[in-house]
Symmetry: C2
Subunit: 254 residues, 2 copies
DNA sequence: ACCTGAACACCGTTCAAGT
DNA sequence: ACCTGAACACCGTTCAAGT
């Protein structure tokens, strides 16, 4: 039932895991995850093992399923050992989030495109795919813009794609931000186990249809005329509209 | 650190609070919150007092700050008493979410507009305002589409507005969904205490600017040319683009 | 020096005893 | 019948004792 992530309790003087200041306090903020040390004197070998196992547990059981006793058990150590690698549970979650944000980067390393519209589409769909592959992680993306090394690298690739097609820095920033916010907002309400199937949306449609028609005429009317709008269809509709609306602003090319 | 909301543990046979099936199991799903009974034999008087106090605590201290001992203390009862009104903590959170989703509905009761674009703008900005007033609630909106009475009523108003301007049921549904997803996605990454001020975005900008320029040239370039894009400016940009992109689809009026 | 079993503190939930 | 103090179970975190 956890949401401690990024929420500082009373001790406001502490550096909150996941914030820019916190990432900057890591030595390896621009290097790979595996050889960073939580603080002076911490061991540097097996960090990735814990993070990887944490990702697995969250994928399998959700955020609730991740407790330090289970993580310790599955990595063959004790709970106290975890505190030799991480300051607290939040740090583990922050690393886990950045880990899944790094997935799929290899395949898109040399992404280029001749059309900025296609670039937007690629950016949006890759992000959406990433979210779809780790639906249980979506609640962890709600606190702030992630700024871990993999998150920044992802941002770099996307912005580079837009800049290389002649968009100004301002326009590229706003375009990227709008797209990512739409993708996140869309993915975020479909993050149940079975959400990326059509199970859940069918249930909601049936619910809307069963409402008192006198009281909620528009909701019922719309539900009745939804011959099952799929998640993908809704996503495409919003993304297309957004890109179409950006066209007049990108007057550089055809 | 809780995210139990909507996450069923092992006992899959239970009805999960917040789902359509759960709301349907309440007698008063189409009535006001105050006189519903959690189950047979539960008292019906003071439910709203607990929910209202829960909202206050979450607004003040975040979701972490809400524990049942504190809630019991501030409502002058004991923890066990809470279980005579709610099945568990999740139910309290579900009611609290629906309560804040109901705010501001009175003022917009007779909203009409001659322009569908303006309607979209009103829908988006009212939702955004609601989120901005309860930033600590945003993590609770990540599990699924809320379908409590106030959420449905909000949906009714918005869809009615769009339908009354000649949009088809399909188009109204997709339009509403796209707008709400953008608004949610935008609000969700600004949900810190000070997020709706420019504090946080300035910090992120400074962070991007401080990165290794050889490694992240595009990120740094964009950060350099962001003379502080404000939250509002970004929101307006995305919303305007989305509405502009919807125009060709709404061919009914000028 | 590094590790860790056991304890501590906290919180959701339940139950037996109150009125 | 309704309420509730006290206990239980669980989990994040720490510490004193191991090697």
């Amino acid at each position: 039932m956890m949401l401690s992530l990024f929420q500082s309790p009373n001790n406001a003087s502490e550096i909150v895991p996941g914030t820019p200041a916190w990432w900057q306090s890591r030595k390896d903020s621009d290097s790979t995850l595996s050889n960073c040390s939580a603080s002076v004197g911490r061991p540097r070998v097996p960090r990735d093992k814990f993070v990887g196992e944490a990702v697995k547990i969250i994928d399998e059981l959700g955020i609730e399923g991740l407790n330090l006793r289970a993580l310790a058990l599955r990595t063959g150590s004790g709970t106290a050992t975890l505190y030799r690698h991480f300051a607290n549970k939040d740090e583990i979650l922050v690393y886990a989030v950045d880990k899944i944000l790094g997935e799929g980067l290899v395949g898109s390393r040399h992404l280029t495109s001749s059309d900025w519209r296609l670039s937007c589409r690629v950016i949006a769909e890759l992000a959406y795919l990433r979210y779809a592959q780790h639906p249980n992680f979506l609640p962890l993306l709600t606190a702030q813009v992630p700024v871990g090394p993999n998150a920044v690298q992802k941002r770099e690739r996307a912005l580079n794609l837009l800049l290389s097609q002649g968009l100004s820095a301002q326009l590229a920033a706003k375009t990227y931000s709008s797209i990512m916010h739409f993708v996140l907002g869309h993915a975020i309400q479909f993050n149940d186990k079975d959400a990326f199937s059509s199970e859940r949306s069918g249930e909601i449609q049936r619910f809307y249809r069963s409402l008192n028609e006198g009281k909620y005429p528009s909701v019922v009317a719309v539900a009745d005329h939804l011959p099952m709008i799929s998640d993908e269809e809704e996503f495409e509709f919003g993304l297309n509209s957004l890109i179409r609306g950006l066209e007049p602003l990108v007057s550089k090319l055809s």
